[in-house]
């Protein structure tokens, strides 16, 4: 790819002069379209705003038609840049795409198609715009706004979401662009992962493990932003049960801890702490967090002067939750774990008569599931007699 393509940005694209008249003569655009383009093109935001406020959908229709009917890369890039500019100035304009007057237009199709071909500029802009448009769709009972007319075969939002997730996962795995792919993809995902449909297909496409490597300490402004958005994705996923399993098996937790230890950026810390809060109650995360030393990290985080009160609240909440976990861990469960792992170590807890007294009943409850297992392992280690002796010894103490 030529280097100027890689560096192509909107500013450069928008400096181009597109020969709209020629398109009209060749009947690729209508006379009305030309009129609207003349009013809109090369104008300032102040001039454009009223146009869009009054007749937004018509302009959208023009843009969509061009993208649908015209293949010339320069023009496509130009129109994409226009749309991007329009949405950046006011993201609410994404709603215009869902105006009833555009019901017959397939608003998604051009962008979805352009994801897979053309320059990186086209792909990046298409993905960004598509994300904004599909996220702005009016939701009726959580169902998709597809065409009820099966003859027309209009792209449904489900199709869009599926296609986007597919493209984004590929970008994360095999970036089309050496430096821009990942930031752009993460940015899109941070918006899309708010929806449970997206979470579901993302997890199914094994996307979680693609995000994990991106969790690493960052120092430059750009990398911090990518880190923030990655953490945003992880946090969003932590609300989704199936994703949590993936997070557990990947090395997400240690990486998050690394980052939160060293980061000075409040928003990054904020997100990670929120993620911990979500994970605390699930599965073995609590135990893992304690093992990896999170309680101490929380302490040191609390000592730092953050300005966000929500962050402080969440840290306190974490602290409480972790304390509970520690209490639980010093109990039967950890013993069970140790027995099963064959690591019957004489930690201080095991010498505690109270521990034994409380947990004899637990042994019985579990139908001696672990007791026999323990016996087997312990016999293996030839420590059975020692243990039995000690147990009786303890029990005698207890009886006193």
């Amino acid at each position: 790819m030529p280097t100027d393509q890689a560096e192509l940005n909107s500013e450069q694209v928008l400096r181009r002069d597109i020969a709209w008249e020629t398109y009209m003569t060749t009947k690729l655009i209508t006379g009305t379209s030309l009129q609207l383009l003349r009013r809109y093109d090369k104008k300032s935001e102040n001039d454009r705003a009223p146009l869009l406020d009054n007749d937004g959908p018509s302009y959208i229709h023009v843009f969509i038609s061009i993208l649908r009917d015209i293949q010339k890369e320069e023009t496509v890039e130009y129109v994409l840049a226009l749309i991007d500019e329009m949405l950046t100035a006011n993201p609410k304009r994404a709603l215009l795409f869902h105006d009833k007057s555009l019901a017959d237009d397939d608003i998604y199709e051009p962008f979805l198609r352009l994801l897979w071909k053309g320059s990186w500029f086209i792909q990046e802009k298409s993905s960004k715009i598509l994300t904004l448009i599909v996220s702005a769709r009016p939701k009726q009972n959580g169902r998709t706004n597809g065409a009820t007319d099966s003859k027309k075969k209009i792209t449904t939002s489900d199709d869009v979401l599926k296609g986007l997730v597919e493209w984004l996962c590929i970008q994360l795995k095999k970036p089309s662009h050496p430096s821009r792919s990942i930031p752009a993809s993460v940015n899109c995902l941070a918006t899309l992962l708010k929806e449970s449909v997206v979470r579901s297909s993302f997890v199914q496409a094994d996307g979680v493990k693609l995000l994990v490597p991106l969790i690493s300490p960052a120092s430059t402004q750009q990398s911090i932003q990518i880190l923030y958005e990655t953490c945003l994705c992880v946090w969003l996923l932590s609300y989704y049960e199936p994703a949590i399993e993936y997070l557990a098996t990947s090395r997400a937790l240690p990486r998050l801890l690394e980052v939160v230890k060293g980061s000075t950026k409040e928003k990054v810390v904020r997100l990670i702490v929120l993620t911990f809060k979500n994970l605390l109650a699930k599965g073995s995360f609590g135990a893992q967090m304690v093992d990896l030393g999170l309680p101490q990290i929380v302490q040191s985080l609390k000592a730092q002067a953050w300005s966000d009160e929500d962050l402080l609240d969440t840290l306190n909440h974490l602290e409480e939750g972790l304390k509970d976990n520690i209490k639980k861990l010093s109990s039967f469960d950890k013993y069970k774990q140790e027995v099963l792992l064959g690591h019957l170590d004489w930690s201080p807890m095991h010498k505690d008569p109270i521990f034994w007294r409380d947990n004899i009943t637990n042994f019985e409850e579990n139908d001696f599931q672990y007791h026999p297992a323990g016996r087997i392992i312990v016999t293996d280690l030839k420590a059975k007699e020692r243990v039995m002796k000690l147990m009786n010894h303890e029990n005698a103490e207890n009886k006193n």
Binding site: K194, Y228, Y239, K267, R270, L271, L274, D308, D310
Partner: protein
């Protein structure tokens, strides 16, 4: 730094602050939405459970009701059957009773019968002195067989001939008729009593029918309702 630079820097700072604010706003919005979803799911679950329990309770209620209904119906039917059976048996007795009238209408056989009835009574009582009661219309007939009965008794028992007084003060009621079915009636036969009235032997046709009926009831039922 000239104005343009300053202005640009300010713009950058504004943009930065705005971005940070929007990011935080986004996080708040997401948190709120997710918490709402979790809450809603919990509430839906609780209510679903409640409704399920309610439904199970109601289903059980209906089942119990059905069982009770069935049991009641079964009982009612059983009683109906028993009642019908009873009715048939009673009807049998009634028609038998009606037949009794014919007995007394045949003078010759009735006379022999009365003789036997008196004899049977004498043998049962074994009293030297008895009172005999009969229907008013039978008086003549009874007087006619009295001596023979006494003789038969003596022959059988070798005892002395008993004294038989016919009670002319009080007679057995008249035979039944359709005009007044509820008045006490007698279809025939006699009643014998010891002189002091302490031992009474009812040998009317009606009494005999009762006895037979009672004795034969099990057999009757067996035959009818096998």
């Amino acid at each position: 730094m000239n104005d343009a630079d300053v202005s640009k820097q300010i713009q950058q700072m504004v943009a930065f602050i705005r971005q940070e604010a929007e990011e935080k706003a986004n996080e708040i919005s997401v948190s709120a939405e997710e918490e709402f979803n979790i809450h809603k799911m919990q509430m839906v679950d609780t209510d679903k459970k409640k409704i399920k329990q309610e439904y199970e309770r109601k289903t059980k209620q209906v089942e119990v009701k059905k069982k009770i209904e069935y049991s009641m119906q079964l009982n009612a039917s059983r009683i109906k059957v028993l009642q019908a059976q009873d009715d048939v048996v009673v009807a049998m007795k009634e028609s038998a009773r009606k037949e009794l009238l014919n007995v007394s209408s045949n003078r010759r056989t009735y006379k022999d019968l009365v003789h036997s009835l008196i004899l049977q009574g004498l043998l049962r009582l074994r009293e030297p002195s008895v009172v005999l009661r009969c229907r008013e219309i039978d008086v003549t007939l009874v007087e006619g067989v009295l001596e023979e009965a006494k003789k038969a008794y003596v022959a059988k028992t070798k005892l002395s001939s008993p004294k038989i007084d016919i009670d002319r003060k009080e007679y057995l009621p008249a035979p039944p008729n359709n005009n007044d079915p509820h008045r006490p009636s007698c279809s025939g036969g006699i009643v014998l009593a010891s002189q002091d009235g302490k031992i009474v032997f009812e040998n009317t046709l009606d009494a005999r029918l009762d006895v037979i009926y009672r004795n034969k009831l099990p057999t009757i039922r067996k035959t009818l309702y096998r």
